[in-house]
């Protein structure tokens, strides 16, 4: 068999839940952002979840359990995919307002991973603004990712340095990834082995 010229990364999992104290009826948008050498081969690059409400059973967590499933093909680990999340919910007037932005890299190591992402929102530039505005924020994109038609509101990726923007954390989102890779090791990239599979074998 000829040596592979690309490696594959399959990610499945779900956006499990979020903790946003003081907010309710939130929904979550996700999209993947990746480098120039990456191409998604299957699955959804971006999506938008249902609106979830708090319940009396779990008064702190908002559970989405929204599945993600995507496969990438790449020639270069540079630009490893990141998942970008933005959570929205209605404000006092019923407008959809962003409640948090966050991003995390898809884990390198095959196996099941759970990531808790701290979600931030930009601060108003001044007190007055804080009072008057209804906190409409939208972010411009910096990494080239996703076509505009499919992402009506552009996602956030964090540029290398942002000295100009002040943000505040407003909650957490827990995401679960099941990562599989193919040919990564063959191509000389050693990401180690996850504990998951081995543990399972032993049991």
């Amino acid at each position: 068999m000829a040596a592979p010229s690309v490696f594959l990364l399959a990610v499945s999992g779900e956006i499990e839940s979020g903790e946003f104290p003081g907010f309710d009826d939130l929904y979550c948008k996700f999209s993947f952002v990746y480098g120039q050498d990456w191409v998604p081969t299957a699955g959804l690059e971006e999506g938008i979840s249902q609106i979830t409400s708090k319940s009396s059973v779990s008064p702190t967590t908002l559970v989405w359990n929204f599945p993600i499933d995507i496969t990438f093909k790449s020639t270069n680990p540079f630009g490893w995919p990141q998942i970008v999340l933005s959570v929205y919910g209605p404000d006092f007037f019923g407008h959809d307002v962003v409640r948090g932005y966050g991003a995390v890299h898809v884990p390198f190591v095959p196996g099941r991973h759970k990531r808790t992402i701290a979600m931030f929102v930009p601060e108003s530039t001044s007190r007055l603004q804080q009072l008057t505005s209804n906190f409409y924020f939208a972010f411009c994109i910096h990494n080239s990712a996703g076509a505009p038609e499919r992402a009506p509101d552009p996602p956030v990726t964090i540029p290398p340095s942002l000295p100009v923007i002040r943000v505040r954390s407003q909650g957490f989102v827990t995401v679960c990834f099941n990562v599989m890779t193919k040919d990564l090791h063959k191509l000389g990239y050693d990401v180690g082995q996850g504990p998951g599979p081995q543990g399972l074998q032993q049991a």
Binding site: D37, T125, Q129, F137, F139, A145, P148, P195
Partner: protein, 1513 residues
């Protein structure tokens, strides 16, 4: 259930080898586990103690149940089950206290791992478990069974609780339950609590009580005697030369307290050393770690996770004396005032200057001497001494012994003083003499050379003296001196006599011995011969001293007085030097002198200030004045960090424009700390240079000998020399604190002691790297070599002086880089893949958007780099192939470079973000908006009312091919040229029945079938359709009819960005244009035979190009949409078509159209999706403009834009060098070239640059045109406005016969103010050479505004009464010189272009042969110059006739295209867009002619005539 599972899991782990590396247990967890285990142990022992009496019950009651639930449990499980079984027993007996305590403990444990709460059952079991005090048998039995003891079981269980992360959720539930249980237990035990009030104590009482047992040691110093053993004196080891080391600093009061406290103790004195101080180590910091080594208590740790203790490696500090940031105490500042420079000799000195300098020097000396007045001082002293002697001699009778004794001393002093006075007097006199002599020399020189170079004048003021008294004083002085000398001589004589006597005595005795020796010699002659030699020298017999002669002495004295003293009665001469003389004006001087003066004028000097041999500043270059003085008057504030080692001034002289020579270096002393700015006096420091200068004019040169004498004798040589007057002082800070380094402050108090110890202070930081200096310092500072603190330094010095150590002469910034390199540099450079990745990262244009860089080297082809390499190589090689003209090629490559640099600026700007780039925040609503909002709320709801939805804007970065479409809406056209009706006179001579005239050949149109030939006359005049071509994609509309067709069709064209790069800056640089061509569709009857006419229709469709509109893509991109009516660019000659004919068919709009000629088309163009045009680069450019002006400009712009935000206000522009320039500087009357005066000058950067570059956009054109108009004496302004299709642009406004005319500078078209089809849509501001006016009127379309700029209500001027025009000079050149064009080159270019175009046409017709009709081509070529002459007007008919005559057999369709020339590519595009080549009649022939008319300065106007010919059969 969960318990069972947990135990199951525990088994699994028990079976596993203890390899936590594979488990998810982290280090943190390990320690937590350990802690927990300890707590458990403690709990268990406690339980054992309390329950030791309890009777354990062996019955396993619950075992069964558990087993039932979990049948798969193994045998070893039983040990656990044993515990369970025992628990219920214990529970009933346990005192509630214990339970409570345990539960609390358990809770604590819980809080340490919140994630891993034990299950309900487990918790229950745990608390109720009877930790029995070992029923030994049981335990042993259990061990036998399992090989595992009970403790381990418990341990394991607890450990396992966190192994199982999967069961978190269940755990959560358990926790709640456990908590609840515990709480209930706690609440029931109320009897444990006793409520008591809080004790309160009186403060004084408390103090009293405290006094009983508290001791407060005194802060007073303890006398030394108390600290020492009795009868002992303190002894100071340091004084005895032993090294004691430095004690840590402890405040005196603390020391006293400690001493007092120690002395209270028994044997307190043991704590004191010999010197009466508390024993202390020099350095309290211990060298080795006292922390005990950590031994791993857990055997189960995998070897790879075991912590290995490595001793911290001490960094051998390479640079121990680096000034740390902590030492930094702010900046220190030296103020260096460089006042000026005076040359005492300079190569350009004329002889007179030399003398004048000498005179000035002498005069200075004289002044200095006079100020000191030593002669007077010494004379007075002499008098005082004499009177003192006199007095003491007189008073000697009183027998004062002291006075007697001091007489000889006085006398001695008198002699001394007199000698000094004499010397001084002599000096004074010679000085005066030389001054006079030099002055005389100057005078004679001036007489000789007949001009004066220096303003020096010497006056000698005579001070008359009283002859008699003067004589008396003189005589008395002489007498006194004679007397003293006599006395002196007498003394001398006596002394000598004495000497003589003793010597004589000696001599006599010697003589005697000599004689006796001689006798002896005779005996021992041989032996003593050598010794005899010693004595052999003859001793001279002493001569008796001579008595001094009083007469002789008198003569001596008088002679001397004559020499050095003013003669009695002679007036005192006081020289006065003034600069009041006049210098002969240059015109009256001889040539050599004129040359000298000119040379001086060319020279200038400046001074560099070097601090620690580094240049820190320099003065301005000032010309050397004619009196060889240079005034700088500059003060330099040097903020320094390093200790100043040297301060040096370098004096440079520049001659003319070229050479700069170092004249001399002057060292300035580093000022004392007391010298502060304000108090420092200017000092003059002399310098001289050894440079040798020979000059060919009157200047005497330096280092060259010259002479004042005519015969050349008495040669003199001077070196360039002079004085720098300057002062150096320490600056005084804001609060009056002198900015002096502290070291120096201490330095003054304790001279050099501290400085020696601080190496940096003494040798400077730079000295630290110099080993020799360091060693020298160490030797000088007398470092204690035994002091361990100095060990490292001593070693370093030892090594360095012995020369063994190698001190690297470089400094590595990233010393770890090597370790992080995953591949060697060579491999990195060799690898194609890495190269590709690197180039992409550097955002090189070709690779910026390269996707999916292949993973293997072999998959990358070499070809990828070829283009790039070629481009890099050819960057500087000018390729004339594409440009045909070397000059234009140079320009093109220059423009390419400018473009590249602009793109690079954009790329860097792209990485800088401002807040608005990242966060879209709503504007703070103003009152107006709020009001509107409220108003809107009150509005009735109209759900059916259509509303325009804003299109979503898309940033251009995340797009790919096919995402962007160009939408072109062709709406209608006016005044399309129509086919010529009848060409009767041409028809007859034509041989063929069917002339080329299309109406015969015209075939059926949709409306009326062409049954009768008569119909032809009624046939539609024209059947136009529009074809849009963009990026070689072509779309066309349907065919409409008539000269004013209406299409109303939308065409969609895809857009592809270059290199697939959709970033803003790449879209901005798209050069493609949208061609909108209007064609006439002509149907020809293709039927060869009339007989077939009945049975079938055979027509051939031909299309005739009528005209086109070109719109650059970038315009569409920036404008977002283009909506308007455009003039169709129709060639001056359209064969077979005419315009006038259809004027008859008025439709009412003609009245509006009165001024305009030509055809128009209404278009709407936009891009889907809408792209956000890139923002301008936020960069400040440097400028040479006045800061105030720029501020005023900014203010003006802000005011304007606040009133009319949509109107652009332009005050400053950026020139080619990237500098901000005020716009009015561009406007200035310029002479148009003669050839263009009659024609419309349609060709502006400054005009000179533009003409050089031959490339510019509308603004440049407009500026040049405006300047030409001004040059022709017209009133002209530059209009900044908005036009279609250019967008924001510049037009020109002129006032002609009280009518305003608007000029389009790029086409040369002009429009009246009220012209409907004027492309200029909005007028924002007007610019003239001295002002800017901003449009303040309500409307801004040219037809609706007043152009009268004198009304400030309508036009807001920039320069007004409050800010008058400062007279900014123009940056345009005075006059443009026009180079005459090279006619030959134009001819050559003409033939080359013709060839290229012909080749292209053949290329575009790959399937058919392309035949060229030479005859026609030459005919056409003859027409073209005619067209240029007439500017394409009014020749159509003649032209047509001519052509017909000559080419009667052919049906010709063609037209001339007129274009300005810059490159070949647009020409090709233009020809292609006309579609001449698309004709596919088999026997078609082509004709193509090119004519270039060269205007001055290489401006070329190009005419291309293309035609297709079809032979009529």
């Amino acid at each position: 259930m969960s318990a069972a599972r947990r135990s199951d899991a525990s088994e699994a782990v028990r079976e596993l080898p203890p390899v936590p590396s594979t488990s998810r247990t982290s280090f943190a967890e390990l320690s937590v586990r350990q802690r927990m285990r300890e707590k458990l142990k403690a709990a268990r022992t406690k339980a054992e103690i309390t329950l030791s009496q309890e009777d354990p019950s062996p019955q396993p009651r619950r075992l069964k149940g558990i087993r039932e639930r979990k049948p798969g449990v193994r045998l070893d499980k039983t040990s656990d089950n044993d515990k369970f079984r025992e628990m219920p027993e214990g529970e009933s007996h346990l005192p509630s206290k214990v339970k409570f305590r345990d539960s609390v403990k358990k809770l604590k444990q819980k809080s340490t791992f919140q994630n891993d709460f034990p299950s309900e059952e487990e918790a229950y079991n745990f608390f109720t478990f009877n930790f029995d005090a070992v029923p030994e048998k049981m335990k042993a039995g259990a061990r036998k069974k399992n090989g595992l003891n009970e403790e381990e079981g418990v341990e394991e269980e607890c450990v396992e609780t966190h192994e199982d992360e999967q069961e978190e959720d269940e755990m959560d539930d358990d926790v709640h339950l456990v908590k609840d249980d515990d709480l209930f237990i706690g609440q029931t035990d109320e009897d444990l609590l006793v409520v008591k009030p809080v004790d309160c104590e009186n403060y004084t009482e408390q103090l009293k009580r405290e006094k009983e047992f508290l001791f407060i040691p005194s802060m007073l110093a303890v006398p030394a005697s108390e600290k020492m053993p009795r009868n002992m004196q303190p002894r100071y080891l340091e004084d005895e030369g032993l090294y004691t080391g430095e004690r840590p600093v402890v405040s005196q009061s603390n020391q006293n307290i400690l001493e007092n406290r120690i002395l209270r103790q028994d044997q307190g004195k043991e704590w004191f050393g010999d010197d009466g101080k508390i024993l202390a180590l020099p350095n309290p910091v211990k060298q080795s770690s006292t922390r005990p080594p950590i031994f791993s208590l857990e055997e189960g740790i995998a070897p790879e996770f075991e912590t290995v203790y490595r001793k911290a490696i001490k960094m051998t500090s390479t640079n121990p004396y680096f000034v740390g940031p902590g030492d930094f105490q702010g900046l220190f500042q030296l103020d260096i005032d460089i006042c000026g420079l005076i040359f005492t000799h300079h190569p350009c000195f004329s002889r007179e200057h030399v003398l004048a300098a000498k005179l000035a020097q002498l005069y200075d000396q004289y002044l200095a001497r006079r100020q000191k007045n030593l002669t007077k001082l010494l004379t007075d002293k002499l008098h005082a001494l004499r009177s003192a002697v006199q007095y003491s001699i007189e008073g000697s009778g009183d027998g004062v012994p002291v006075a007697q004794q001091s007489i000889p001393e006085y006398k001695m002093e008198i002699r001394q003083t007199r000698r000094l006075r004499d010397a001084e007097q002599e000096k004074d006199r010679t000085l005066l003499k030389t001054i006079i002599k030099v002055w005389k020399q100057i005078k004679s020189l001036r007489d000789f050379q007949k001009f004066t170079n220096t303003p020096m004048k010497l006056y000698l003021r005579k001070e008359e003296v009283d002859q008699k008294s003067d004589e008396k004083v003189y005589e008395a002085e002489i007498q006194a001196e004679i007397k003293e000398l006599l006395e002196e001589c007498m003394e001398e004589y006596e002394k000598k006599m004495e000497e003589y006597k003793t010597e004589l005595h000696h001599w006599k005795s010697w003589k005697k011995t000599q004689k006796s020796k001689k006798k002896k010699k005779k005996d021992t002659r041989v032996d003593e011969e050598s010794a005899d030699h010693d004595f052999g020298e003859e001793r001279i017999k002493p001569i008796p001293p001579r008595m001094a002669n009083s007469l002789e002495i008198e003569q001596q004295v008088r002679e001397k007085a004559d020499n050095c003293r003013r003669k009695p009665g002679e007036p005192i001469l006081v020289p006065e030097l003034t600069l009041s003389g006049s210098i002969t004006p240059t015109e009256q001087c001889p040539r050599a002198e004129v040359l000298r003066r000119e040379d001086v004028k060319k020279r200038s000097a400046f001074i560099k200030v070097l601090f620690n041999s580094k240049e820190v500043s320099r003065t301005v270059t000032r010309p050397i004045s004619s009196d060889f003085r240079v005034h700088f008057g500059q003060i330099f504030n040097l903020q320094i960090i390093n200790w100043p080692e040297s301060l040096k001034l370098q004096i440079y002289e520049t001659t003319g424009m070229s050479s700069t020579t170092l004249l001399a270096e002057v060292f300035l002393p580093v000022p004392e700390t007391a010298v502060l700015t304000g108090t420092a006096a200017l000092e003059e420091i002399e310098f001289s240079s050894d440079q040798r200068v020979m000059l060919d004019h009157e200047g005497v040169g330096s280092g060259v000998s010259f002479s004042f004498e005519a015969d050349g004798s008495n040669k003199m040589t001077f070196m360039t020399s002079g004085k720098v007057s300057s002062s150096v002082s320490w600056a005084v800070g804001e609060k009056g604190i002198p900015l002096i380094p502290p070291v120096s402050q201490q330095n003054t108090g304790i001279p050099s002691a501290l400085k020696n110890i601080d190496a940096i202070a003494s040798i400077g930081t730079s000295g630290l790297t110099d080993m020799k200096k360091l060693a020298k310092w160490a030797a000088e500072a007398k470092l204690d070599p035994n002091d361990p603190n100095n060990a490292a330094l001593m070693q370093l010095i030892m090594i360095s002086t012995s020369g063994e150590a190698h001190v690297p002469d470089f400094f590595r910034l990233e010393q770890l880089q090597q370790e992080f390199n995953f591949v060697s540099d060579e491999e990195f450079n060799r690898s194609k893949r890495f190269r590709l990745l690197r180039l992409r990262n550097e955002e090189v244009a070709e690779f910026r958007n390269y996707k999916q860089v292949p993973l293997h080297e072999r998959e990358i082809s070499e070809k990828i780099f070829q283009d790039y390499e070629k481009r890099v190589q050819e960057r500087d090689v000018i390729d004339s192939k594409n440009y045909l003209d070397a000059h234009r090629a140079v320009v093109a490559s220059y423009l390419q470079k400018v473009r590249e640099s602009v793109i690079n600026r954009f790329l860097t700007a792209k990485h800088h973000f401002i807040l608005s780039d990242l966060v879209n925040e709503e504007e703070i609503p103003g009152l107006g908006i709020l009001g509107l909002g409220l108003f809107k709320l009150a509005e009735p709801k109209r759900p059916l009312r259509p509303r325009r939805k804003e299109r979503k804007k898309v940033t251009a970065q995340n797009l790919s091919d096919g995402d962007i479409k160009l939408l072109v809406n062709i709406i209608r056209a006016y005044d399309i040229p129509v086919r010529k009706q009848v060409m009767s006179k041409l028809q007859q001579p034509s041989k063929s029945s069917r002339s080329f005239n299309e109406m015969f050949a015209a075939s059926p149109s949709a409306q009326s079938p062409p049954n009768s030939p008569d119909w032809a006359f009624n046939q539609v005049l024209v059947r136009p359709f529009v074809e849009v071509s963009f990026q070689r994609t072509v779309c066309r509309t349907t065919t409409a009819e008539g000269p004013s067709p209406c299409w109303n069709e939308e065409l969609e064209l895809p857009f592809r960005a270059p290199n697939g790069d959709y970033s803003t800056q790449s879209l901005q640089s798209v050069k493609d244009e949208v061609f909108i061509n209007v064609f006439d569709e002509v149907l020809h009857d293709a039927v060869e035979d009339d007989r077939e006419r009945g049975s079938g229709i055979h027509t051939r469709i031909e299309r005739h190009w009528l005209g086109c509109v070109k719109i650059p893509f970038t315009t569409i991109y920036f404008q977002a949409r283009i909506d308007g009516t455009f003039k169709i660019n129709i060639p001056p000659v359209l064969l077979g078509y005419s315009k006038e004919k259809n004027v008859g068919m008025e439709r009412g709009y003609d009245s509006v159209r009165n001024l305009s000629e030509g055809s128009y088309i209404t278009l709407f163009i936009t891009i889907e999706p809408q792209l956000i045009p890139g923002e301008s680069v936020r960069e400040k450019f440097d400028t040479q403009e006045d800061e105030k002006l720029l501020q005023a400009a900014e203010k003006y712009e802000a005011e304007c834009t606040s009133k009319f935000p949509s109107r652009q206000c332009l005050t400053t522009v950026i020139d080619l060098d990237g500098k901000t320039v005020f716009i009015t500087r561009y406007i200035k009357p310029l002479n148009p070239p003669q050839e263009l005066l009659d024609a419309v000058p349609d060709r502006s950067q400054t005009a000179a640059q533009f003409l050089y570059l031959l490339a510019g956009d509308e603004e440049e054109h407009a500026v040049l045109l405006c300047n030409y108009f001004l040059g022709m004496g017209k009133k002209a302004w530059l209009i900044i406005g908005n036009a279609i299709p250019e967008g924001p642009t510049a037009y020109v406004l002129t006032l002609e016969q009280s009518q305003y005319v608007i000029w389009n500078p790029s086409t040369g078209c002009f429009y009246g103010q009220y012209d409907t089809f004027c492309p200029l849509q909005n007028v924002y501001c007007l610019i003239s050479c001295d002002n800017i006016w901003f449009n303040m009127q309500e409307y801004d379309s040219p037809g609706r505004i007043y152009f009268d700029i004198s009304k400030p209500k309508h036009w807001k001027p920039f320069f007004s009464r409050s800010l008058p025009f400062p007279g900014l000079h123009s940056i345009q050149p005075e006059e443009l010189t026009y180079e005459h064009s090279d006619k030959a080159a134009a001819l050559e270019l003409q033939s080359r272009i013709e060839k290229i175009l012909k080749d292209k046409i053949m290329e575009w017709r790959p399937t058919r042969p392309t035949r060229w009709n030479r005859y026609c081509t030459s005919t056409l070529r003859n027409f073209l110059p005619l067209l240029e002459q007439n500017q394409g007007r009014d020749i159509e008919d003649d032209h047509q006739a001519e052509l017909q005559k000559q080419l009667g057999d052919y049906r010709v369709s063609g037209f001339p295209i007129h274009m300005p020339y810059s490159e070949v590519r647009p020409l090709i595009e233009a020809v292609h867009s006309t579609g001449v080549h698309t004709i596919d009649v088999s026997n078609v022939e082509f004709a193509l002619a090119v004519y270039i008319h060269a205007y001055p300065q290489n401006v070329l106007s190009i005419w291309i005539y293309v035609a297709s010919l079809v032979r009529n059969r």
